[in-house]
Amino acid sequence: MIEMNIICAKKLCLYYRDFQALKDIDLDVPAREITALIGPSGCGKSTFLRTLNRMNDLIQGVKITGEVTYHGENIYAGQVDVTALRKSIGMVFQKPNPFPMSIYDNVAYGPKLHDNLSKAELNDLVERSLRGAALWDEVKDRLKKSALSLSGGQQQRLCIARALSVSPDVLLMDEPTSALDPASTMKIEELMGHLKQDYTVVIVTHNMQQAARISDRTAFFLTGDLVESGKTDEIFSMPKDKRTEDYITGRFG
């Protein structure tokens, strides 16, 4: 059988100083599907997402036990090159955060770090990435303009293009539409439908309708525990756990 689960968390715990933010999380992320992480604020879903590309390393006082494997290798093993890991596992943040540079330079930033590309190759790569994020047609005439001149929705798609530019195989998305208006949100959801043909997507969302609409699998977090995970239609139609049911029917959170 071809490798099914591209990322597996095993007995993953995360402590922030004395506070345990994640408790024994076991979760498998299947390839080329969209996995949605849902749960009320502060449940640990974003923290969990950030353990997958080791972004929590940047925060002082964080300690992690257990393991996360990526293609079978533990990413928390001693000899791991974090830069290579993050190149393979891209990330899109809650608030669109393009660099204060031109649109072109934003997308070219990552490739310039990792590879020595010719001008033509770079141009080609920028175009492909922007097309991949369904932004090319809107910006092809103003690639040299500041990225900050784009609308919020365009900025977020630019951030997606930027993440695609280093050819990752996993995309982590941390509430990517929570700062956007409904029209921009729809565009990005539509885009995610295309992205999963080529990429594995893990998305944190606050919005249960969004999780139901776009994801193949859903994991429900509550106060640092992974309560339940499985196929999205099953979780939403017949949750096994009472707490999951309460949450998705809107009784709390």
Partner: protein, 285 residues
């Protein structure tokens, strides 16, 4: 993903720049520690009670800096007496009264300009305006007038910054109780921005202690003991910084110079400590 995969070029680039960062920080810290350590090493040994408590005596061939300590104090007091009302008043006007945006911008540009002018130009202005123009002698008073213009921008700016930190809600609260503007300023604004204002004053005092170019030509290099403040106003008097210059370049007396330099650095240390203390103690009454 294994360690070796980060290409050599990128590893070298990162390592090299990180090395430069560490090296630069080390140089900066080394300079500070070296400078202060060296001055103390060469100077502290020459500070004695006699040195601090007597005047220079040609007969006995001894050197004392009591007159210069007093001159420095007199100069600071006089300057503060002139500049504090003007500087704090101007800042209050800018922040609380001024309604014309344009006027505010002009005054702010004026203080910025004053802040950027080198002290030798203040020396020129002091010599020609106060000494030649007003007919003052080279004296503590002429020096204090010069220093007043020199430290005006520091006082205006720091006071303005302090006033800006007072929340609008305090002002509205006072007005809602029927307070007049001046009453509100006196009872609400000034007390709650006191820490910032005092910090500004300490910074300005630091500048006065350190100033030498503007004072060399306006306050002079006198070293006779004058204990009466009003007599001192009209006497030529060298402050500690000016005397450091005089002893180092005219007399070539490096022991005395190092001793004065140690005292100056000690004063700077005290003032810095004072700023920290003020920030901690006077914060928001």
């Amino acid at each position: 993903m294994k360690n070796g995969r980060l290409p050599l070029k990128r590893r070298a680039y990162s390592g090299f720049l990180m090395g430069l960062i560490g090296l630069s920080a080390a140089i900066a810290v080394g300079l500070i520690v070296g400078l202060i350590g060296y001055v103390f090493y060469r100077g502290l040994g020459h500070i004695s009670w006699e040195f601090l408590s007597t005047a220079r005596s040609a007969l006995r061939g001894t050197i004392g800096i009591l007159p210069n300590i007093l001159f420095t104090l007199f100069l600071i007091i006089t300057t503060l007496a002139i500049v504090l009302p003007i500087g704090i008043g101007a800042a209050i006007y800018l922040n609380e009264y001024a309604t014309s945006r344009r006027l505010v911008r002009i005054i702010e540009f004026a203080t910025e300009t004053l802040a950027g002018i080198p002290s030798i130009i203040y020396a020129l202005v002091g010599v020609l305006l106060f000494i030649q123009g007003l007919g003052l002698r080279v004296s503590i008073l002429a020096g204090a007038l010069t220093l007043s213009i020199l430290s005006l921008p520091t006082i205006v700016r720091t006071t303005q910054e302090a006033l800006r930190t007072v929340p609008v809600s305090y002002r509205e609260g006072a007005f809602a109780l029927g307070a007049t503007k001046w009453y509100m300023i006196r009872t609400i604004i000034l007390p709650s921005s006191l820490d910032g204002i005092v910090t500004g004053v300490i910074l300005a005092v630091g500048r006065m202690v350190g100033e030498s170019a503007a004072l060399l030509f306006t306050a002079g290099t006198g070293y006779f003991l004058v204990t009466n403040y009003f007599e001192a106003l009209h006497a030529s008097g060298g402050t500690l910084s000016v005397m450091l210059f005089v002893y180092a370049t005219e007399h070539g007396n490096f022991d005395v110079s190092f001793a004065i330099a140690s005292i100056l650095i000690f004063i700077v240390l005290l003032l810095n400590f004072g700023v920290k203390l003020v920030k901690r103690k006077l914060r928001r009454i």
